[in-house]
Assembly symmetry: C2
Homo-oligomer: 569 residues x 2
Amino acid sequence: MTSNKMIISIKQITHWGKRVLSTLRDRVKTFLKSPKTLKPLQLPAPGFKPATKQYEIHASPDYMELKMAFRDIGRMNAILETLGRDFLTAMPDGAYKSRLSQIGFLYRRMHEELANQKIATLIEKAHAHEQKHPDDWDLWDHANLREMEIMYRHHCQADPVLIEKRARLMYEGRRVHREVRRNNDWETARPFLENMVDLHRQLAETKCLRNNEHETEAPYQALLREYIPGARVDEVETLFTHLEKSLRRLLPEVLERQANRPAPLPLTGNFPSDQQMWLNRSLLSVMGFDFTRGGLYETGHNPVEGGTPDDTRLVILTADTSTFLTSMKSALHEGGHGIYIQGLPRDTWRYQPVGQDLGAAVQESQALLIEMIFGRTKEFFEYLSPRAEGLFQKFADPAMRADNLFALRNWVKPGWDRRNADEITYFFHIRLRTRLERDMISGKLAVKDLPEAWNAGMEDLMGITPQSYAQGCLQDVHWFVGKFGYFPSYTLGHILSAQIHDRMKRDLQNIPDLLRAGDFRPMRDWLHERIYQKGRLLRPAALMEEITGSPLSIQPLMNHLEERYLMAA
Amino acid sequence: MTSNKMIISIKQITHWGKRVLSTLRDRVKTFLKSPKTLKPLQLPAPGFKPATKQYEIHASPDYMELKMAFRDIGRMNAILETLGRDFLTAMPDGAYKSRLSQIGFLYRRMHEELANQKIATLIEKAHAHEQKHPDDWDLWDHANLREMEIMYRHHCQADPVLIEKRARLMYEGRRVHREVRRNNDWETARPFLENMVDLHRQLAETKCLRNNEHETEAPYQALLREYIPGARVDEVETLFTHLEKSLRRLLPEVLERQANRPAPLPLTGNFPSDQQMWLNRSLLSVMGFDFTRGGLYETGHNPVEGGTPDDTRLVILTADTSTFLTSMKSALHEGGHGIYIQGLPRDTWRYQPVGQDLGAAVQESQALLIEMIFGRTKEFFEYLSPRAEGLFQKFADPAMRADNLFALRNWVKPGWDRRNADEITYFFHIRLRTRLERDMISGKLAVKDLPEAWNAGMEDLMGITPQSYAQGCLQDVHWFVGKFGYFPSYTLGHILSAQIHDRMKRDLQNIPDLLRAGDFRPMRDWLHERIYQKGRLLRPAALMEEITGSPLSIQPLMNHLEERYLMAA
């Protein structure tokens, strides 16, 4: 053991001690504030090691060099977040073209710095060191090197020119989408989407993964894995088939039960946009979002999640002033993303691969846990209702009562609109999109036949026929910004969120009381300890298994839906 | 002549033809709108060649490669503009440290891409081509290669580590300055400034220029040249000595004359910040600022000029609601910078060195031409007064009359405050700062002795003793952000602006009428044709000589000041 290691050990012990102390202190504080929220004191699990620092000298100089290289790559990524947010929210229109070229350039440069022989050699040498001197590598370093290699493999065979082109199209696509949706303009959308599909098929086919996988689905699987590390198309398909079967059975039961109850009262009057934003910011604050490292802003287009743990500025739409529930839903959703991002191991692993989130499915699980699981409970509306009556000056308005807001929010109704779909029919939207994008990437479905396939799918799944392209295949921004393979994340996230919630209930027995008191902190702490602060220490499947003790399963989600939609008073 | 060249010639002819047509079209439009503003039709001067494109294939592949390399450097620069503006205006506080490291990283990377052997070799080879095949190089290409070399030489010997450190300190300094000024805290300011002075001396000494210049003043001259290409310390000193002599003579005369006239009425009541901003934006619009490629925003700290021709977002301070003249002054000043930047040859030379502005002295000449020369005339206030009476709801308020606003704005009074100084005493502020920064860089003045030297200088130049550090040597942000060598630009710009105005008056005889009508367009067009669109085609001294027909001279400025402050009714 070198003297360097010794110093680190002492540092680690101090760190460990501080952590236990601060855990204790927090418990005491929580106790003093609200005895109901006390949860059993949990010492760090044995085997869990506090993260060491990204600048810590490591015995392998090659790994050290990799850490420095990935730091710069991470910085470029963070710079791209800032450029992209500015592009979508504040940039003057005339800067459009030049900004696209700056973004494309930086993506290309980032790609070039990552996908080159030098990085490959360093990774190989670091692996050799890892095998020869296992004692020099802790869990975090192992994971960091593993994630470096995965990032490298994802990039190494893609043509930098395609990367640059894709980056430009990703941002151009937002504007194209806004226009074609507004004008119901399929003729303009079609060639753009064809271009996007071709580009992504080409990119996927050149991926390293291709070397080992020659099936028809391999390109779609490569795209899927950009969002959901380690995902398999066939496994997703099996899961979705089960879920479809269960939900096709559940939906009519729910609708029948609903038909026998009075419909909720619609909201009336005006909900000014700035008051909606005040409410949304306050709710995020209550949930533990740190406004000194982020914010919540408005846009005229689609919401934007993301950012970095140091700068998590979220963007939502508040155009509709006839209800506050729509923008609140967005705020809770993006807030769920934001709180996860802010909890990543920032001080210790900033910019390193192991310090990043676990990809779209886990991201969505965190967003949907807040938005759908917690944010649609009766208890949450009991917290919200009196405060909303005050804020919007609607004392004694029966539509503002907790039970009415709850009923409004959880009203189940098949429709064309994914973004405002209820918790049950939401899946059918995802089911359709997943199938269509898979078929477009494999070449089974031509873009020109998309509208027809879309409408047939909607008819089959929900008995709905969209009245326009804008209400049909032009409603979502995803394909226009190249997010092929993203849609399944919503449903996988929903499944995960129910599994996580199930487990959480065993540790925190009083969640309904906490929600009624507006006290999100115990839930946030629970998530922070088990998910946020671990970054990519484990791969998604392993982490979920560690937390929930079981593999991915639709049962907890089905239980949750049955409880809420068939059994609740 | 290659066939490539043929195509270019046809393109050039078409371009030329379009330019003449559009000039004609604009004239007709102007004529129809407002016959008074008609100016004689001007065909492009013989010898003036429309700029060719940055992507045009060039016979020298080395030059072509340089163009691509400088394009990426230019993009990084543009990205830094966006990061920096966001840093100063919108970023959440918690992102402070990580953003500093991103900015520092990008500066270092930009430096590394510019200051390396590959660029040097390409420049050498391109020069060889230039000499061997002079017909392949037009004026713009010559100038572009020359500016590439100058940029290279400015960077080539600086240590990348110092560059990164400087970039971080530049941004940290803004925050430090805000704090120390607010708290009158010299003890915190001193070590920070010592660090800044040392760093800049060190940087200056390692500059390539050092190789040929061993005098005491050489480091300061190297810094000066970052802002004013080709400037010489001794020439600036001679000019400033003359100007000091003339103004020491003029000032008492002006004060005596002023004492015999009634003092202007102070503004009373409240000028809400959002109305000030509306006024400022409207004035900029009238002046020809293009809001589709820029904007005007508010900040709590110092104004920020700059941006790129594609994205010129200006930032000013509007904290004071007891007068609209202060924020208007800032808006006109930053607007002058902005209009110049927006007029640079964007479509043809985007990101290339020859497409950039001519440095701080010419920049300031454009800002001061708008702010001080035009924006303080009686005629401008005649345009402004009735509109301001309406906007701020102050009909029949005698303080709002044009002659009173004019008198308020042009009231001469020695004081401690540079930013709000009048047009005559402004120079004394610059004189003092130039001398002090020169002496700090040469080592003649230690930072610890700065407050004393400052107060002695103020006493000597204007008979003023600042009442605090905040009113003394802590009032300006420049040294805190490392802008040693910038201050002389204000006075050189003032001198230039008077020379340019002198020449402009010969082409446009009705400037006072135009100002009274709020028609800035003929002046803007005049400046655009002679300065903005030329980028760095000529070096500053050569361009100014081309425009004004004479070398730098203080006479036009002295004439202007005597006319406005001794002779005006």
